[in-house]
């Protein structure tokens, strides 16, 4: 269905409800449902109405039917009850009592409008109210009739009274007092005459096993009210509402606003569309502390400490990417208390680059596409969000040409990227911004550019969080409705309006600067969310590196290269190459101590007062042989010893690079 509501049409509204349906066992329920449909369908056909031309909706224990506007209303009311009675008799004749059908039926007519949520109109609501009216329930309960029909005052006046074929005399006026409906309606019980409303119940007691059950059911809510609201409360004309189901929705910060508004909308709608007007659920929409914290909490089954640190236990999780879900699923493999069910995505958003107009003119002069190598000063990336994780993934993928994070040069390469990031304002001058299309377009001064190699796409999956130990069917239905709602035409429109792409990849009517109408080329990668986060965070750490060298030219050259590794936030300090060098490093706050020597060094003391890693670089043949002081020092502090002399096969340059990679791993590796 389209997003625009259709014009209101004047239609006949029929609703039926099987009496005491949910008291039955499952098998008869299914049998009854089939029987009900067969009977209705046949009854419609019997009186010349095309069932397939009607709009009908299943209501579990009943059916809601809209008769096409071109069908005369009198035909419905003059033919249908009679035909239905015949069909019900036929069906019931071959069933035992458990599977027999008795119906309540209400008919109204009026302007009815369709929107993508379904059908709306005062007369639809009225039909449901009438279906619940006490006189109708009583009529069925106090008689053995197979069904009872109620019609609105206006329907009676306009359609039934003027039409002898509709047998107006078989209807009697009743008072109705259901919610906002206070007034009269008209009741018809087939099988001759008025129902035995005033008759004392003793007379038919033996025959009325089922009606008694229905009556008992009717009494229950009243009793309930008596208990909870106290004796002072007047018994309401309709059953009280059951408490709304609590639905906790954990959502990424990126979608928080739009999802909250959609959840509240559905929450309100649940009352409007519920036949009794009861609000069916309460939603709590929250982000947790961060996407990372939320994923970690989910991965350990949401422990009590996570309640205070992250928030309430979620029933639905709406992260930015499926990559995050995969990571949590892996963590949950060893647990039995929480299971995740990955459902479809609810929106899309490619990861793009934002640039000021002048930067965009430089790096993407023609088609709005950009090469990653031209991205020199990106704004800092925070991987604690799903979007940030994807941004980091895009940068890592571009730098490594893949996502193999086990390579020995990963720490150095990642540090090269993270050190180039800046906290200066994005999209001002040369500072670019990597983020979702939505966030970039929302940022002042940013023009959206697309990576030529393809963009990672945030797929915004819907994840059901199941707790097998305490299943809750009522909530599960709400969870499914929530998903349906999020992918409905109206909700998709809201996602587009908020700057997301809908699930088909379409954008909203007012795209930001540079946003493309068509879908950008897609880069399909499946990052390991946890590994990328860990690697990125490690590479972003500020490190202090102490360098101790023997003063030889080769050592000086290498020391200079170590200086070159450091980013603007890092610090490199000189340390004396003495026995106490490791402890001297600790005292000056060094995280890594690099020993560089062309000559023999004195034995290095192993005892230190804090954590430090030692990387040793020997510039003579055999400097790293076992039991040499360099070797021992590196061994004692979690590092390695590298010789960078030319030997067969690999020249000193390669060995130098390997040694620098090792220093980077010690400083910025996991």
């Amino acid at each position: 269905m389209g997003t625009l509501p259709q014009h209101a049409l004047h239609r006949t509204v029929v609703v039926v409800d099987v009496s005491a349906f949910s008291q039955r066992h499952r098998t008869p329920q299914e049998e009854i449902r089939r029987g009900l449909y067969t009977a209705l369908e046949s009854a419609f056909e019997d009186c010349g109405l095309d069932w397939s031309a009607t709009h009908h909706e299943d209501r579990g224990d009943g059916v809601f039917v809209l008769v096409p506007p071109d069908v005369p209303k009198s035909r419905v009311v003059s033919g249908l009850p009679h035909a239905l009675l015949g069909e019900l008799r036929r069906y019931n004749a071959t069933r035992n009592e458990d599977a027999r059908i008795r119906l309540r039926m209400a008919i109204t007519a009026g302007e009815v409008q369709h929107d993508e949520h379904g059908v709306v109109g005062d007369d639809v609501t009225l039909a449901f109210r009438l279906l619940d009216a006490k006189p109708l329930r009583d009529a069925l309960a106090h008689s053995t009739a197979l069904f009872a029909l109620i019609v609105s005052q206006r329907f009676f006046e306009d359609v039934i009274r003027p039409d002898p074929a509709a047998d107006p005399d078989s209807f009697r006026r009743v008072d109705v007092d259901v919610k906002e409906v206070h007034g009269h309606a008209w009741l018809h019980v087939p099988n001759g005459g008025a129902p035995v409303l005033n008759r004392r119940p003793t007379r038919h007691r033996k025959k009325r096993a089922k009606p008694r059950r229905a009556l008992a059911l009717l009494m229950l809510p009243l009793l309930f009210v008596g208990i909870t609201n106290g004796a002072g409360a007047a018994p309401p004309a309709v059953p009280p509402c059951p408490p709304p189901v609590q639905l906790n929705v954990l959502v990424s910060a990126e979608k928080e606003e739009v999802v909250r508004s959609l959840a509240l909308e559905l929450e309100d709608d649940s009352g409007r569309h519920n036949p009794l007007g009861c609000k069916e659920f309460n939603a709590l929409v929250f982000t947790g502390k961060s996407a990372k914290a939320a994923a970690e909490a989910l991965g350990r089954g949401w422990q009590p400490s996570d309640l205070t640190e992250v928030g309430a236990e979620p029933h639905v999780w709406l992260p930015d990417t499926t990559a995050e879900v995969r990571a949590v699923k892996t963590a949950l493999l060893e647990r039995t208390d929480v299971r995740l069910h990955l459902r479809q995505g609810v929106a899309l958003s490619p990861v793009v680059l934002g640039a000021s107009e002048e930067l965009a003119a430089q790096i993407a002069p023609q088609d709005g596409e950009v090469e990653w190598r031209d991205v020199t000063r990106p704004a800092a990336v925070d991987t604690s969000s799903g979007v940030g994780l994807a941004a980091a993934t895009a940068l890592v993928h571009a730098e490594l040409g893949g996502l193999d994070l086990s390579r020995r040069d990963v720490a150095r390469k990642l540090h090269d990227i993270t050190r180039s990031t800046t906290t200066d304002e994005p999209c001002v001058g040369g500072v670019s911004l990597i983020g979702s299309e939505k966030a970039v377009a929302d940022t002042e001064g940013c023009r959206v550019l697309y990576p030529r190699a393809g963009a990672l796409v945030l797929d915004h999956p819907f994840v059901e969080v199941e707790r097998p130990d305490r299943p809750n069917q009522r909530r599960l239905r709400i969870v499914h409705r929530f998903l349906e709602h999020l992918v409905s035409a109206r909700a998709q429109e809201q996602f587009r309006r908020a700057g997301f792409r809908d699930v088909a990849g379409n954008i909203g009517a007012r795209p930001g600067p540079g946003v493309r109408l068509d879908q950008p080329r897609r880069l399909s990668v499946e990052p390991d969310a946890r590994a990328v986060r860990e690697a990125w965070e490690a590479a972003s750490r500020r490190r202090v590196i102490g360098v101790a060298r023997d003063g030889s030219p080769a050592a000086n050259v290498f020391a200079n290269l170590v200086w070159g590794l450091a980013g603007p936030r890092d610090q490199v300090i000189d340390l004396p190459l003495t026995e106490g060098v490791a402890e001297a490093g600790v005292e000056q706050g060094a995280n890594v101590v690099v020993l560089v020597s062309a000559a023999q060094v004195p034995p290095i003391a192993k005892a230190v007062s804090g954590p430090v890693r030692v990387v040793a670089v020997g510039i003579t043949e055999g400097a790293c042989a076992a039991s040499t002081p360099l070797y021992e020092a590196a061994q004692a502090h979690g590092g390695q010893c590298h010789e960078i002399v030319a030997r067969n096969g690999s020249g000193p340059t390669q060995r130098q690079e390997d040694a620098l990679d090792a220093v980077a791993r010690a400083a910025w590796g996991g």
Binding site: D17, V18, S19, A20, F21, S22, Q23, R59, G60, D61, G62, L131, D132, K179, L217, L220, P221, L223, F224, I227, T228, N229, G230, A231, G232, A233, P236, P239, P240, C241, P242, P243, V245, Q246, N248, G271, N274, P275, L276, G277, C278, K279, N282, L284, F286, P304, L307, T308, G311, A312, E313, H315, R467, D469, R470, P471, N472, R474, R475
Partner: protein, 409 residues
């Protein structure tokens, strides 16, 4: 429809079958949940430790803290209780729950709580309004035991009032005069409170309405309208600053603490903050008094969950926590205002103005649909405060809407 009745039937079954005796008399390890323990030195945790030291090994209590935000706290309790409807032997049951007094009716109506015996807990020794808020609206059943209470106070700039030879106001009229005449001469806002769109707005409005003889349960009454109009006029005339429409407790405290307001309505916790020389510019310049009218009663109750399999232990634990000696201890160590009346007779446990405020405090209307009622009221009242002309009409309409919401629709 009948489908809707099923949960009711289930609930009803739970209501009418007197709790299975096994569970009612059951003893065993239990879980106690309360909000985040922000008391100095974690006094709630220590109270639980004291129980555990003296209780048998079978009846140890595990203390679980709930999310900081009240919405999330409530959502967690509700969802867990719904998950365990009809379940009796789950280790995941929150056997004893601390519930905000305004949630109690809703939790009880939803069938999550066990009714308690007033005699067993000797609730006659407690603040009658607090006990009333813990009972069903008709007073027939007791659903929880009042544990700690709270009431509002009027904080004022004593230095300023002293300088003009006046004392704190005892009526709204006087408050209005001082706020509109004295405050501007000292370059101060007249009055700040909590008028953001949240529960604090209901509390502040209720207090203004009570001070004018009205009641939020009679929204269309002239006295109620007068109370709401008094606030709206305050905004219109400027002695309540516009920005107070966005104030919650910390924001209003900040305005007063930084020396920008003559009067502030706030809870007792504000006192120690105003005395903190690091943060406060009004150290030694402020004092506090009772509000010029009744305060709204705040507070937390302890309830036994229906899912609890060890309800005897749960009740014993509640008795332990609400015992006078433990209430006294929590008053001294954690600053909790007690619910036991006897403790208000003891000098120095409760400050005199707080004592007076608490003993006269009134409750907000208990309802199973409190949430819906209050959010609807918040919406309208927040709007009305900006438009004094619309008070009459808006409150009349609100009265109608609330009648609908009161049915849960």
């Amino acid at each position: 429809m009948i489908r809707v009745l099923v949960p009711l039937v289930v609930l009803l079954a739970a209501c009418t079958t007197p709790a299975q005796d096994d569970a009612r008399d059951g003893t065993g390890p239990i879980t106690f949940v309360d909000g985040r323990d922000t008391t100095a030195g974690g006094q709630v945790g220590k109270l639980v430790e004291r129980w555990n030291e003296q209780a048998s090994r079978r009846e140890q209590v595990a203390f679980v803290q709930m999310p900081t935000s009240t919405d999330a706290h409530r959502a967690q309790l509700t969802a867990r209780a719904q998950d365990l409807e009809g379940v009796r032997d789950s280790a995941e049951c929150y056997d004893v729950m601390a519930v905000d007094m305004v949630w109690t009716a809703a939790f009880a109506a939803a069938g999550h709580l066990e009714a308690l015996d007033p005699v067993e807990f000797d609730v006659d020794r407690m603040l009658p309004e607090a006990v009333k808020a813990a009972k069903s609206p008709d007073g027939g059943r007791l659903w929880a035991i009042p544990w700690r209470s709270d009431a509002g106070l009027l904080y004022y700039r004593k230095d300023v009032l002293d300088a003009v030879g006046e004392g704190p106001p005892t009526t709204w009229k006087e408050l209005r005069r001082q706020a509109s005449e004295i405050a501007p001469r000292h370059n101060l806002h007249g009055y700040v409170g909590q008028f953001r769109r949240y529960e604090g707005l209901i509390v502040n409005t209720a207090e203004a309405v009570w001070a004018h003889g009205g009641d939020l349960e009679r929204l269309d009454a002239p006295e109620t309208k007068a109370g709401v109009r008094a606030l709206a006029d305050g905004f219109a005339q400027g002695w309540i600053p516009r920005e107070a429409r966005d104030y919650d407790e910390p924001a209003s405290l900040d305005a007063f603490r930084s020396g920008r307001a003559l009067f502030m309505r706030n809870w007792p916790y504000a006192g120690p903050v105003l005395d903190d020389a690091q943060e406060s510019q009004v150290v030694g310049k402020w004092a506090r008094a009772v509000l010029p009218g009744a305060s709204a009663l705040g507070g937390w109750n302890l309830a036994v969950s229906r899912c609890s399999a060890s309800q005897k232990t749960a009740r014993e634990f509640i008795k332990f926590v609400t015992r006078d000696d433990n209430q006294r201890l929590m008053g001294e160590l954690a600053g909790f205002a007690p619910t036991s009346r006897a403790l208000y007779e003891e000098p120095e446990l409760v400050a005199p103005e707080l004592r007076e405020s608490l003993l006269n405090a009134r409750i907000r209307r208990p309802s199973p649909h409190y949430d819906e009622l209050t959010s609807l009221m918040q919406e309208i009242l927040h709007h009305v405060l900006e438009k004094p002309d619309s008070v009459d009409q808006s409150l009349d309409r609100l009265a109608d809407d609330l009648a609908r919401v009161a049915e849960g629709r």
